[in-house]
């Protein structure tokens, strides 16, 4: 029995991804799954956990002796300690979707666990921080276009996704409006359905990367590619090799003038836009969730050896971690 602890069920991309990964796990014939959430939890109708809960996987009581404990953030580790106490012999699978304390606080790193990073960008950050003792498994950034709203045939205007850089996003929007193009802009985090709907009729999407320490899961960029929008990204270290300048995106500096110029150029040049959209579709084909599913199932298949390696890593003297990156 695999017990999934969901202490803080959210609505964002990370929660969607985690729920999806639990669904992949259900295909393993030798492992049964159950979810636990705090009794006070009221799931939002759009919650990604809703489908799992309604299929009878959600239990009010945690399993007393699970064969595997699946956790994803610090709140889960806190609950694991409360429910099961310090049990270093209980196999744990830690799905990491961020770099900061919210993902590895409450003693998560002090206990052995099979650590799995969601996305190569996050894995790279975790390797750099040298906080983990265990070998790191990585799941690729993946998305199926079928899970998105169908895009409109006639697309126009620009969408600026800049929840982490509202000033820059606003400057880009103002520049595009001044140039006579329609432009919408995310200045505070939008719900998943909101930005997906905004992409439906956008010809160009400008995606401003999350700041260091907050790697995203590549979902927005993949969604833009899936919905046939030409992508402009600011040139931070690229997530999972999703972008190649001129092939499936325009990669610019995080500078308003340069981003405006790139977006304007794309809005005016339909041939270039079509080329990037085609490149995006090729990338998307390589990032379908079948690959993510396969990788996760491989992790589960090799769980005994990964778990042994994790325990062995904790038997060795601890590494001195680098100071937290800002």
């Amino acid at each position: 029995m695999a017990q999934v602890l969901v202490a803080d069920p959210g609505l964002g991309s990370a929660s969607h991804k985690l729920a999806q990964i639990v669904r992949y796990g259900q295909d393993q014939p030798h492992l049964r799954w159950r979810l636990w959430m705090p009794a006070s939890t009221r799931l939002h109708p759009e919650s990604p956990w809703q489908a799992l809960a309604s299929s009878g996987l959600l239990f009010a009581q945690p399993h007393p002796a699970p064969a595997l404990l699946l956790l994803s953030d610090a709140a889960d580790w806190r609950e694991a300690k409360r429910i099961y106490g310090d049990r270093p012999d209980l196999p744990k699978l830690h799905l990491l979707h961020g770099l900061d304390l919210r993902h590895w606080g409450h003693g998560a790193l002090g206990q052995p666990a099979v650590r799995v990073a969601l996305g190569e960008g996050l894995a790279e950050g975790l390797r750099r921080s040298q906080r983990l003792r265990e070998p790191l498994q990585v799941l690729p950034a993946c998305l199926d276009p079928e899970t998105l709203p169908p895009p409109l045939r006639l697309k126009q205007g620009c969408l600026v996704l800049g929840r982490d850089h509202p000033e820059l996003a606003l400057a880009v929007q103002q520049g595009l409006l001044a140039a006579g193009f329609s432009c919408r802009c995310e200045l505070s985090p939008w719900p998943r359905t909101h930005w997906q709907q905004a992409m439906v009729d956008s010809a160009v999407v400008v995606h401003l990367a999350s700041p260091d320490g907050r790697p995203d899961l590549g979902q927005r960029q993949l969604a833009a590619m899936a919905m046939g929008a030409a992508l402009v990204v600011d040139g931070r270290p690229l997530v999972d090799g999703l972008h190649r300048h001129g092939s499936n995106a325009l990669v610019c500096l995080a500078d308003a003038a340069e981003l405006i110029q790139a977006a304007t150029g794309l809005l005016q040049d339909s041939a270039l836009r079509a080329r990037l959209v085609q490149g995006g579709k090729a990338v998307l084909l390589r990032h379908r969730t079948a690959l993510e599913r396969l990788r996760f199932q491989e992790v589960l298949d090799q769980l005994p050896s990964h778990w042994s390696a994790a325990r062995l890593a904790h038997a060795a003297p601890a590494l001195s971690p680098l100071p937290p990156s800002r």
Binding site: D27, R288, E292, L294
Partner: protein, 189 residues
Amino acid sequence: MTDISSHPLWHNTEREFLRAERLIERAVDQLQAQGLQHQQERARVGLELERALAPIQSLSAGLQQVIETMAQQRQENRLQRWQGELQNLLIPVDEAELQLQELLLQLEQPTSEHWQGQPLAEARPAIQRLQLQLLLSQRQRQVQQLQAELKELRLRCWTLETSGSAGSPQPEPDGLQGGSAPGPPAIFG
């Protein structure tokens, strides 16, 4: 008086210079031949790379088509797994294709400013001009040496001719200063 051009040192120098010229010519010819060979070799490697790329591109397109077809159908778990495996297979194929394309791109870049296109044919006049300038300056130096030698010989002759007149003051070697005594003509300043 002997003519400069008949002096043995002049002849020796001229011979040496001609020999040097011939050596330079030969070296330039060899370089030209090597450059041509190098270009041919690059073209051959480029062709081989293009040949290697073709099956990889075809494999990549085939895999993409299969993945696309599978994705369009409602899939069982097993098919999903196969699709994932195909995506997995596509990764090294993509990497190989990218590397070959980068190699091809690098191969098409000129190796240096002076060796692109038909470099030696274009650079030949400039090389010859440089060779001639070198030769000219070397010959000028040689002429100056001969002039100095000639001057010394004339001085010696004049000393021998005037040694009979005892007590007469010795003129300055170039005969331009000191009294009215005739000195050797100063033809080379």
